[in-house]
Symmetry: D2
Subunit: 151 residues, 4 copies
């Protein structure tokens, strides 16, 4: 397998084999080295405030964490010396979120939301990412910063 095939496999895995991502309706759109992009359509069960029809803060946090984790994975794959699936599997087994900060900027109003994540630094042990959540009108709903253990 080459790098692009591994990344394509990660995309399928996150869309098909992570139960909570399916339960939420998260769609992995793009896994680029520059940025990772995932989306979700508003549905009644994602609402936190039924009167105002606003996305639940837990959905926002989930989207930021998923997108940041994917950005860390893409950069981890890019740094692999050889692209065999077993090595990646070993790496991914130990990859995990250390901590995350979420800043809620605007009420989550909208019909479609997309989270983008960029790697700020990918060291030997820790990967730091920044994430943003926007609605379909381009309004920034939230901001995130997270660290992942990668080595």
């Amino acid at each position: 397998m080459d790098k692009q095939e591994l990344i394509a496999g990660v995309k399928i895995y996150f869309n098909e084999n992570i139960p909570f991502n399916k339960h939420m309706g998260i769609d992995v759109i793009d896994l680029g080295m520059d940025a990772v992009r995932i989306g979700i359509n508003m549905r009644p069960e994602l609402v936190g405030n039924a009167i105002m029809n606003i996305l639940h803060g837990g959905v926002t946090a989930t989207l930021l964490d998923v997108s940041g984790g994917l950005a860390a994975i893409v950069h981890t794959i890019d740094k692999l010396d050889s692209f065999d699936g077993n090595l990646l599997f070993e790496k991914l087994k130990t990859l995990g979120t250390i901590d995350m900060r979420v800043d809620y900027l605007l009420p989550g109003k909208g019909t479609h939301f997309e989270a983008t994540a960029k790697v700020v630094r990918h060291g030997r042990k820790v990967c730091v990412t920044r994430m943003e959540l926007h609605n379909e009108r381009g309004e920034q709903i939230a901001l995130g910063t997270a660290t992942y253990i990668v080595g």
Copy 2:
């Protein structure tokens, strides 16, 4: 209405009228001044890692945010001069999460999880809370800190 009736109303509201809380299966157990406690039973759709059967990090973040927000509400009610529902409603309309930090301490293994939240400081404008998530064996899965706008 007195304070206890208002708090009882908040409990019902969070269990019945917040769509995402129902979608997740969150149960508000206790709304004390000392601590707020909510619970969730593990279900297949809450899993983030199907091989390891581990709670998704987004579920963890959601439980911490919900419990912290409830602790902020309980203390906001406690500080009300008069306990009429309209005044509370006005207060709660403007109450929102400013930001939250989640520290992931252990993989979320277990059959039942409970988040507890305490208010560290409730000022005129901002309320700061600390939250913890434990599984049914008492292992601490995560730690949270959040700020809420309350005035």
Copy 3:
């Protein structure tokens, strides 16, 4: 006074009248609406690790907090309806850091460091800023996110 005069006054105040800023040797370089920029020259007393000659993490945190606070002030001035000093003084008395996150990306090696801060969102009550610290070679030493109470 107009807006530019108020901002010029803030620059003088932060350089001359904040004891710890002088103790540290912080220099407010530019107070723009787009970004705030402050600098510090490495000196022996700012070192945290004498063998490696690395900036103390507390200096990094200080620079990020000072730059973020200045960005919040500049945007608060910009939103004032009238530019009289008393109104500003009242505003600034209540402006304070709610919380801050610092991400340490690289060891703080260098001879000169600059922190830049941008406002991500300036709401009626809370201002959210992102900050970066670079050395004289343009390497990013740290990343910050902070919230300030502004109303």
Copy 4:
């Protein structure tokens, strides 16, 4: 050397050999397994707001980071298989702050401040600590959470 001698050495090192700690006037009081405690006396150059005579937020952040780092070191020493200085030195060279959150709860008024830090979790790679800053009247000025790379 045994564990207690190593810890005694760390105390001397932090009090005598870290330039910025001396510049600030930080005093390492106690390095216990349960909690680490450091103190600082208010001095004019530590002030952030000269009118209100309040501790600069950067001093608060510094005290929290120093105390949290010491707590991580004490627990790292406790987990060493053999207590030889070289092994410790290798460990400490790679120990560093990943990120820190500071919550500012009350204006830093007082004549003496103490920061206490506890380890929440010490894993193979990452150590998570919680810190508190109190003044001489026992009022809690600030709260901190930090992660340190330890392996």
